[in-house]
Symmetry: C2
Subunit: 448 residues, 2 copies
Amino acid sequence: MKNRPRIIIVGGGFGGLWAARAMAGKHVDVTLIDRKNHHVFQPLLYQVATAVLSPGEIASPIRRILHNAKNIEVILGEAVGFDKDKQTVRLENGAEIPFDYLIIAAGARHSYFGNDDWERAAPGLKTIEDAVEMRRRILLAFELAEREAYLTGTHEPLNFVVVGGGPTGVELAGAIADIARQALAKDFKAIDTTKAKVLLFEGSDRVLGTFAKDLSESAKKQLEDIGVEVRLNSFVTEIESGRVKVGEDWIECDVVLWATGVAASPLGKQLGAETDKAGRVFVQPDLTIPDYKNIFVIGDMASLKQSNGEPVPGVSPAAMQMGSATAANILSDLKGAARTDFRYVDKGTMATIGRSKAIADIQGWHFSGFIAWMMWLFLHVVFLIGFRNRVYVLLEWFWAYLTRERSARLITGNAEELRDAVMFIEGESAAAIRDRPGGKKVSSAGKI
Amino acid sequence: MKNRPRIIIVGGGFGGLWAARAMAGKHVDVTLIDRKNHHVFQPLLYQVATAVLSPGEIASPIRRILHNAKNIEVILGEAVGFDKDKQTVRLENGAEIPFDYLIIAAGARHSYFGNDDWERAAPGLKTIEDAVEMRRRILLAFELAEREAYLTGTHEPLNFVVVGGGPTGVELAGAIADIARQALAKDFKAIDTTKAKVLLFEGSDRVLGTFAKDLSESAKKQLEDIGVEVRLNSFVTEIESGRVKVGEDWIECDVVLWATGVAASPLGKQLGAETDKAGRVFVQPDLTIPDYKNIFVIGDMASLKQSNGEPVPGVSPAAMQMGSATAANILSDLKGAARTDFRYVDKGTMATIGRSKAIADIQGWHFSGFIAWMMWLFLHVVFLIGFRNRVYVLLEWFWAYLTRERSARLITGNAEELRDAVMFIEGESAAAIRDRPGGKKVSSAGKI
């Protein structure tokens, strides 16, 4: 049992996890390092952000997912540097862990194109914490409008702005429109939540630009059907708390959500390898970096051209395939067999827009509307990791579909935050409420 | 429809919610004000703290619970003061809301007996945020021990300390022992989680002191059966990060949880009424404060003696009964009927200890072990508010019971927190790991 090669995997996302799984039970010692204790099923993060699912339903402890693999250890920690020649990974506490093979799969975050100060006003969506923060802001906006209407008899119009018309932006905009029109409508009594505006800004001339043109157009129409205002060729040039600047116009809004821009993990640069503008590492056809056949970079951190000249897209199936391919190549090495170049297999792409609304491109076949949505639903349930989560999510969705309820509608955070958030609502004298005809609430007089 | 009396309820816990429900559809305008948007099923908070249930499973948006009642408005806000004679409630933003009747049901928090600086090191359990923080600390302790064992080949023993042998303390201690012995045991490879110590410190001479003596003894035995060390007559005299002082001895520990002390909401004092040491307002038999027949204080904020001389206990059934009784008295007023004095009906009390372990006292009949646990389970599921939550929690429990899995095991929080948390683990040179025989992990050499 001597000389078992030590494999270090940095990151427990789709890439890292699929690499680990493919080495379970093999004659190697694997250590997976992640800053979080849980794997997140990122394609459904937007459902946590919009209060459909709870965090626990799309996240699983990494060590539970891998607990049957006796040769895989999971460590909570942050990799901060590498020594390629000494073959070690340095953790944030200074510890150095030796490796024979290294797989870096630390993913990407959203990029603010150099305007990092926008993040406070316009959070992005990459982690469970991001999603809970979005959920807090969205729900709080409705609560504060209701309160304002109750106290003053009227309220400012509710505006939600989503920046970026890619999959995440489309999903978020559609889901907010869904909540406002369905789940929340009967619960709010002083305001009419169905009047909330959802604005989606996209810099290019169509949404979901990676899809075929007819699907983009269908997606735009489906968005508009559920009340989203889609503004194409619209660049957001400035963001402040409570407003965004589009071209030359400032637009007031309650919540801004950021859904564009990709910045690969800074670990790519730490590695000292060549990277593209987004920080992705240029990798060899076997996903290694030049001169180091034992160091792999995979998933959203890797930049690789397919044989047709197109880059491998930054989507979860690509990350999974890279993870499995890397594990296979390492195991080939150990058997003395030749490595295989990575080839991305595109089984189809889809994007969901809202309840019963989606688009899909399956090997050139285009679908939209209910059928595409059913396909999306089926695939996401099947792929959700872990039997338990799958059943629960299915139940949640079934429930949400039948009742149009949203179940995970918790605003969490401490009291001071609430206090900060509501401070801008002007106080009103008791007399003003008392003097309203019959002491009635706005609601009694009909929706505003 | 004129002259509908305006009822303000402060607090959406059991007291406030039951009062609101009893006035649904009646000829009154009710406004319920809470700092949070959700009602929490407090008796199950410890299950969130110990990763059995997710926050969304024991909390529901208040406005959803009450959405069918057209005469009830729910407002997110913090009541900070009252003008008893002008009959207004002041919110944190200065707004004043007029009332004809006021029901204050703002509950209680834990008290540190004047040592508020202990809270940082030893959080208590009253809100969802508290529960998530406890969960984070408990899970992080296991993660850090695993990492230490992986990096250094050994680790400090894991000690969990629970301060207070009341229902919350017993539930927390039992649940931590359960996780360590069952759910986590197979997931951690370098450490043996079953060796984790759980210490329960109680100042008096028995746990669950409000129960009959034989039940207290049974509870202690059941705790010891699942590995909890129960230390009676043990006063915690000082708490610092990483250690507690009991009598004269300092005891090292990874996590300290605070489960004793009650401090009623400071709103009782704001009211200018007489309060007891814990800040509870002395109320009249109809739950009003002296001289103000239209101001009620209920639930954990109220101090009232029963006819047998015993105080009404600070438990959720008492709060619910007070809520319903108050609503009934207000409705009686409106009909010109006489009010009824409040009488607490004790239908029985129970406390759970762990999987298949509990005690119950139903009108003098004493039960313990599996039967008591089944009764506890049944009652808590039945009382869980909202059909949906009930079904889900039942499924979760059924699943947890069958598989001994814990599903909600997420450590959330930002990267800096992790960095702070793990900084104390000493770094180790790569050589030390490399020199281990055969490069093996501790796990390969057997559990520590």
